[in-house]
Symmetry: C3
Subunit: 155 residues, 3 copies
Amino acid sequence: MAKLTQLIDNEVFRAYATYTTIVLLKMMLMSLITAYFRITRKAFVNPEDTASFGKGESAKKYLRTDPDVERVRRGHLNDLENIVPFLGIGLLYALSGPELSTALLHFRIFAGARIVHTFAYLIPLPQPGRGLSWAVGYAVTISMAYKVLKTALYL
Amino acid sequence: MAKLTQLIDNEVFRAYATYTTIVLLKMMLMSLITAYFRITRKAFVNPEDTASFGKGESAKKYLRTDPDVERVRRGHLNDLENIVPFLGIGLLYALSGPELSTALLHFRIFAGARIVHTFAYLIPLPQPGRGLSWAVGYAVTISMAYKVLKTALYL
Amino acid sequence: MAKLTQLIDNEVFRAYATYTTIVLLKMMLMSLITAYFRITRKAFVNPEDTASFGKGESAKKYLRTDPDVERVRRGHLNDLENIVPFLGIGLLYALSGPELSTALLHFRIFAGARIVHTFAYLIPLPQPGRGLSWAVGYAVTISMAYKVLKTALYL
């Protein structure tokens, strides 16, 4: 077990673990927000989900799309599209031996940008609020990818 | 290579590797089930996929959505939304030095819950079958995230 | 830091880092292509994204789906469905002590297959071009999963 503990004892790796867990928990929160809007807006997609509203036509009318539900789902998908690259590239970046302060800067900006992105999507804020927050997270991931390829490139 | 072999020799890490591979393979299976329903229901989305059915209108009628195809695709997306957090948080959890028995409990319950979730979605089982299996996997991931943050927190 | 540097000094791990970063960057590129098509085709989904086109009905007509935008989005989702398993299973495979030449073969074929898949989807190439490139990446991931389970299985 010693080797594993040494990995988690590394400060850069601990920072990666902390911010990755935060952004993944934030992404998981989107599921709860989707469920909240589905229930309050009564907008479901699976027939078995509306069974408690009665049978036949009385339940069927709740099989519909709702703008708020679709908005949260788009935010959730955008999280997947951006947090998956952070998960992979961030791990490799943390293992590529960056300065602690540089690594913290990357992780903090990425996590902050994704949290702002979620608020910008759900409120919604006028553009370019959402676009900028997306671009900041994207740029941070590119910067980490550059460091990984510079350190580890083996084609 | 010695260091790497030591990582994979750790029993908690081996358990993580085993259950992660199982749930990722299960998720990959969703692609095959989608393809199976697309072919048997003749419900495609890309024009080039229907070219073998002839040209013009005779092929165009197969560019349609099918309830069974859409159901599998929703199950697949739900897998992505839940297995990606498990992949990341589970890895960090495995490196945070948990008891083997505790770790096995987390991994087994998560994998079991996701397999039940797939059956509940595809059969489909009446609610709250699918909802409960989803919630169990979600709760396991939260529990692992708590352990990661307790062990590694570095903001 | 020594332990971490040793991990990234391992040639198999460096190859994993390189090809994972490449396929994740390729996946991230799909976001830019989607944005390009949304802007050139004027096909948006969020009302706030069309505000610069004026107010009311004049902007509302740009809230529509476009076949090119939807095609890129399907390619992006297919990337997520296939690159997430590669990310997880590939990492475990790299830690399972494979021969360098065997590992390079897996990583190169996977990355090549996903790049071909993207071209096949976006051009689009006639089938079975896209189907075959998808199947090659899928088979490579299964092969790595087999090695992981053979090396690490702990249920």
